[in-house]
C-alpha cells in the first residue's frame, strides 16, 4: 500500500513530561492527614486577681507527676506507665464507691436524664527536664483511659462503640464521662 499519511506526532515523550510533573509534585507537597492529641489550655489568670485556690476535695484529684528521669508518680505511689491507664480508669469510674476515690454527682443531661458524673480531675505535672516523648506517652494513656470509659458507657447505653454513635449521642456521652485533665502551672522543681 503505497499512500502514506501524515506521520502522527511522536507521543512517547508526553509520558516523560508527565513524569517530570509528577516528581515535582511529589517533592513539593506533603501527604495530608496530620494527627495528634487535642488539648485545651486553661486561660491565664488575671494579674490583679487574688490567688485563691479553688477548694477541691482531696479525694477528687489525682496528681500524675513525671520527673526529669521520666519516672511516673500517680497519686502518691510510683507507677509504671502500663499500669497508669487502669489506675485512671479506676479513679474516674470508682465502681465500689470507695471513700478515697472521687465522689459522683447526679447531673441532668439533656436527652438522657439523670446520670452519675464523676468529679474527678487529673492533674498532670511535669518537670522541665521531662522528655517530650514521655509526656506524650502519658497524655496518650490518659486519653486512652477516658476513651475506654466512654466506650463502656456507650455500649452499656446504646449498644455501640463511641465512634459509631450519632453526634447527639456522642455529646451526651462526653458530658457523662468528661475529660478533666488539668495541665498545672509549671513548677520549677529545680529551684524550689
Amino acid at each position: 500500500m503505497g499512500k502514506k499519511k501524515t506521520p502522527a506526532i511522536n507521543s512517547s515523550s508526553t509520558a516523560d513530561i508527565a513524569f517530570l510533573l509528577l516528581c515535582y509534585f511529589l517533592m513539593t507537597t506533603t501527604m495530608g492527614s496530620q494527627t495528634g492529641l487535642n488539648r485545651r489550655l486553661p486561660p491565664m489568670p488575671d494579674k490583679d486577681q487574688k490567688v485563691e485556690d479553688i477548694k477541691i476535695n482531696r479525694r477528687n484529684i489525682i496528681i500524675v507527676r513525671i520527673n526529669s528521669a521520666d519516672r511516673l508518680l500517680a497519686g502518691s505511689e510510683p507507677i509504671d506507665i502500663s499500669m497508669l491507664k487502669d489506675k485512671i480508669k479506676e479513679f474516674l469510674s470508682n465502681p465500689a464507691d470507695d471513700p478515697n476515690l472521687p465522689e459522683k454527682e447526679t447531673k441532668q443531661i439533656e436527652g438522657y436524664g439523670p446520670c452519675q458524673v464523676t468529679k474527678g480531675i487529673i492533674s498532670l505535672q511535669n518537670d522541665r527536664g521531662t522528655s517530650y516523648r514521655a509526656y506524650i506517652a502519658v497524655q496518650n494513656e490518659l486519653v486512652k483511659a477516658i476513651n475506654e470509659l466512654r466506650d463502656e458507657f456507650s455500649s452499656r447505653n446504646y449498644g455501640k462503640k463511641f465512634a459509631n454513635l450519632t453526634e447527639e449521642q456522642q455529646k451526651i456521652v462526653k458530658e457523662a464521662v468528661p475529660q478533666n485533665i488539668s495541665e498545672a502551672e509549671p513548677k520549677d522543681t529545680g529551684k524550689k
Binding site: 507521543s11 507537597t29 495530608g32 492529641l37 489550655l41 506524650i136 486512652k144
Partner: protein, 155 residues
C-alpha cells in the same frame, strides 16, 4: 495461514503501544495533586514525631498554625548548635516572637474562624519539656488555647 497477511506477510511482533503510558502517569499525577498539600515552609528543625495510639485527625487544616520545636537540621547545626530551637514560619524564633506570630496568624483568618484556631505543636520526641512548657505558657498569655500535640499514629 495468516488471514490478513499481504504479500509481504513476514511481520514482526508489533511493539507495545506506549500512547496510554502518559495517561497512566497523568492519572498518578492527579492523584498526588489531589491528596497532597503544598509544603508551606521549609523545615529548619528536625522533628521526629512521638507516637501515640489515641490520636485524632486535625479537623481544619486551614485554621492551624504550626510551631516546630526541635534541634536544627544537620546543615544548620554548625551555625546554630544542637540545642532545640523554635521555628515559626521560615525562621528560628524565640519565645517572645510567638505573640507576634499568633497575632499575625489570627489576623489572616476570618473573624468567625478565629475562635477555632488551633496551634499545632510539632515537637521532636527528644525535646525536653522545659521549652514546650515555655511555649505553652506563652500561648496561654496570647489566649490561643486550642492546641494539638502532633503525634504519629501507632498501632
Amino acid at each position: 495461514m495468516s488471514k490478513f497477511g499481504g504479500s509481504n506477510s513476514k511481520k514482526e511482533v508489533p511493539s507495545m503501544s506506549s500512547g496510554s503510558l502518559s495517561d497512566i502517569v497523568f492519572m498518578l499525577l492527579f492523584f498526588f495533586m489531589v491528596t497532597t498539600q503544598m509544603r508551606e515552609t521549609e523545615n529548619k528543625v528536625m522533628v521526629k514525631l512521638p507516637e501515640a495510639s489515641e490520636v485524632v485527625k486535625l479537623e481544619r487544616k486551614d485554621l492551624a498554625s504550626y510551631i516546630n520545636i526541635g534541634p536544627p537540621t544537620r546543615m544548620l547545626q554548625a551555625k546554630y548548635g544542637t540545642e532545640a530551637r523554635i521555628q515559626l514560619n521560615d525562621d528560628f524564633k524565640s519565645i517572645e516572637d510567638i505573640r507576634d506570630f499568633i497575632a499575625a496568624e489570627r489576623e489572616s483568618m476570618n473573624e468567625s474562624d478565629r475562635a477555632l484556631m488551633t496551634t499545632v505543636i510539632k515537637g521532636d520526641m527528644d525535646v525536653r519539656m522545659g521549652i514546650i512548657t515555655d511555649v505553652k505558657q506563652e500561648l496561654r498569655r496570647c489566649s490561643a488555647l486550642k492546641i494539638l500535640y502532633q503525634a504519629r499514629k501507632a498501632e
